[in-house]
Symmetry: C2
Subunit: 241 residues, 2 copies
DNA sequence: ACAAAAGTGTTGCTGGTACACCCATGT
DNA sequence: ACATGGGTGTACCAGCAACACTTTTGT
C-alpha cells in the first residue's frame, strides 16, 4: 500500500504515458426466439480451427468508428435482416484466455426476435436455431455467455414487457402464457394469468380471433406501450429480498 | 443483405485474418459509501489536460494478464486499502470519443464500502468523498457512468441484501433504515420497516446496544447470510410489470 | 421536565393463489 | 359425440400500508 501514490490511473495520466492499445473488442449476440413451444437461440458453426464444428454466438469485432450498441445492431441486421429488434447489453466477458487469437474482450448482447420474421429473410445456411435446453457445449466461453443471458432474460421478462418481441404483433393469451412458461420453466394458472395481464392494461383488444386453430379460437391482443408507460415506475418500494 | 455470406465474424474467422488489436480497455469504479445521512462517492481530481480540475472515477487500464474483475478489485485495493468489498460489474461504455487518448472502452463497476473502514487507511490527499446529490459535472462520460451505477444500486438493494456493505458489522435498525432512505430517496414507516426486516430472518440480534447516542440506545444487529441463503430464490413468480 | 428516538399491535386493503364449470370450434 | 382449449368468478390468505402511545436515555 505504500506505492499507492505512484500507481498509474487512466483518468489522471497524461496521454503520452498511456499504456499500449493492444486489446481487441467484440460483441456477441445471444439471439433468442420462440418456436414450437420452446426457447431457441440462433447459432453459427465455428470455423476457427480450435473450435471446429462447435456452435458459436453471432459476433463481430468492434469497428473503430462505432460503439458497442451500434456493433451489436449491425451484427443483428447483417445476419438476420431484421431491424428494430429488442437489443440490450448484458455483460462483458474478459477472461485472459477466452479467445485463441489473443486478448479479445467481448460484450454480450441479449436480442429478442420473432422467428417468423426471421424466416422471411434470406438465411445463411450456416445459421441454425437451437433449443436452449439441448445445448451442452459451445465454442469459446459462449456457453457461459448463453447461460448468463438466459438468466438475464428470465429476470427481465418479469420486470419489463419485453416478451412481446418474441411473438407476432397480434397474439392470443394462450400464446403469451406459453412463452412465459417456456422462458421461466414453470406453469401458471390460466385464469390468474389472464386476470393479472388484464389488470396491467397493457393488452389491447384487437377484436380479432385466432384462425387455423383446431379448437375454439381465442381473441387476439397486441401490446399497448402507452398503457405500460402509465403504470411503470409505479412505486419502486417493497423491499423484495 | 446480398453480401451477408461475406461478412467477417470474429468467431468464425481464422486467426490470421483477425482485425488489429487497437483498443484500450479500462475499468472505472463507482465506489459508494454512506456518511452523514447521505450517499457518497469516492472521486479523484483529473490531471488530464482536457479535464483539468474536474472530478473523475477511480480507474485503471486493464493489464494484459488479468480480467476485468481482477482489475477493478486491484483498483479498489490500491486506492482504498480495502479487501473483500462488494464489487460487481454494471455496464461497459464505448462511445467513440469518450476518451481523449484514443479508443478506450471502459467497464463500470459498482463498489460498496464502509466509509469508516476506509478512513482508517492511509488516504491519498487527492481522493475525496462527494455527496452524490451534489455532483453535476464530471470528467469524461463519468457523470453518465455514475448515474447508471446509482440506478443499478437502487434496484439492487431491493433485490439482494447488499446494503449491509455500507454499514458497520453491527448496526441499529435506525441506521439501516436511514441508508435505505438515503439510497432510494423515500421514507419508510418505522414500524413496517422493522416488521419487514425481521420477517426476512436476515437480522441477527447481537444482544448489544448503541453507545454514544444522545437518546435511548437501540439494539444492534448484524446481517445473517445463512438465513438469507434459505429464503432467496423463494419463488420467482409474480410478473411484476 | 424535556427532547429524542426505541419499541410495540391492529385494522383495512390489495393482490396472489387455488379451484370447476360451461362454451365454441374442428374432427 | 368427442377432444381441445376459451372464457369466466369466488373464497381464502398473505403481505403491505396506515396509524399512536408508552418507554428509555441524555441533557
Amino acid at each position: 500500500m505504500e506505492e499507492v501514490l505512484q500507481k498509474p490511473n487512466i483518468n489522471t495520466t497524461p496521454i503520452e504515458l498511456m499504456p499500449d492499445f493492444r486489446f481487441a473488442q467484440s460483441v456477441d449476440c445471444v439471439i433468442f426466439g420462440y418456436d414450437g413451444g420452446e426457447i431457441k437461440v440462433l447459432l453459427i458453426e465455428s470455423d476457427l480451427p480450435a473450435y471446429k464444428g462447435q456452435w458459436s454466438l453471432l459476433g463481430d469485432v468492434l469497428h473503430p468508428d462505432e460503439d458497442l450498441d451500434h456493433a451489436s445492431y449491425r451484427v443483428l441486421q447483417e445476419r438476420t435482416g431484421l431491424s428494430n429488434m429488442f437489443l440490450e447489453q448484458v455483460k462483458t466477458f474478459s477472461a485472459v484466455n477466452r479467445h485463441p487469437a489473443g486478448r479479445v474482450i467481448t460484450t454480450a448482447y441479449l436480442a429478442l426476435v420473432n422467428v417468423k420474421d426471421y424466416q422471411l429473410q434470406r438465411q445463411e445456411h450456416s445459421l441454425h436455431w437451437h433449443s436452449v435446453s439441448e445445448i451442452t457445449t459451445m465454442a469459446f466461453d459462449h456457453k457461459l455467455i448463453l447461460d448468463t443471458c438466459l438468466l438475464a432474460l428470465k429476470k427481465k421478462i418479469q420486470e419489463e414487457p419485453i416478451i412481446f418481441n418474441l411473438l407476432d404483433k397480434k397474439f392470443s393469451l394462450r400464446q403469451l402464457q406459453q412463452v412465459f412458461e417456456a422462458v421461466l420453466g414453470i406453469e401458471f394458472d390460466r385464469r390468474n394469468f389472464r386476470k393479472k395481464l388484464f389488470t396491467t392494461g397493457m393488452l389491447k383488444d384487437e377484436h380479432e380471433m385466432e384462425t387455423d386453430v383446431h379448437h375454439r379460437p381465442g381473441k387476439l391482443y397486441s401490446f399497448n406501450p402507452a398503457a405500460y408507460e402509465k403504470i411503470k415506475g409505479n412505486s419502486f418500494v417493497g423491499l423484495q429480498f
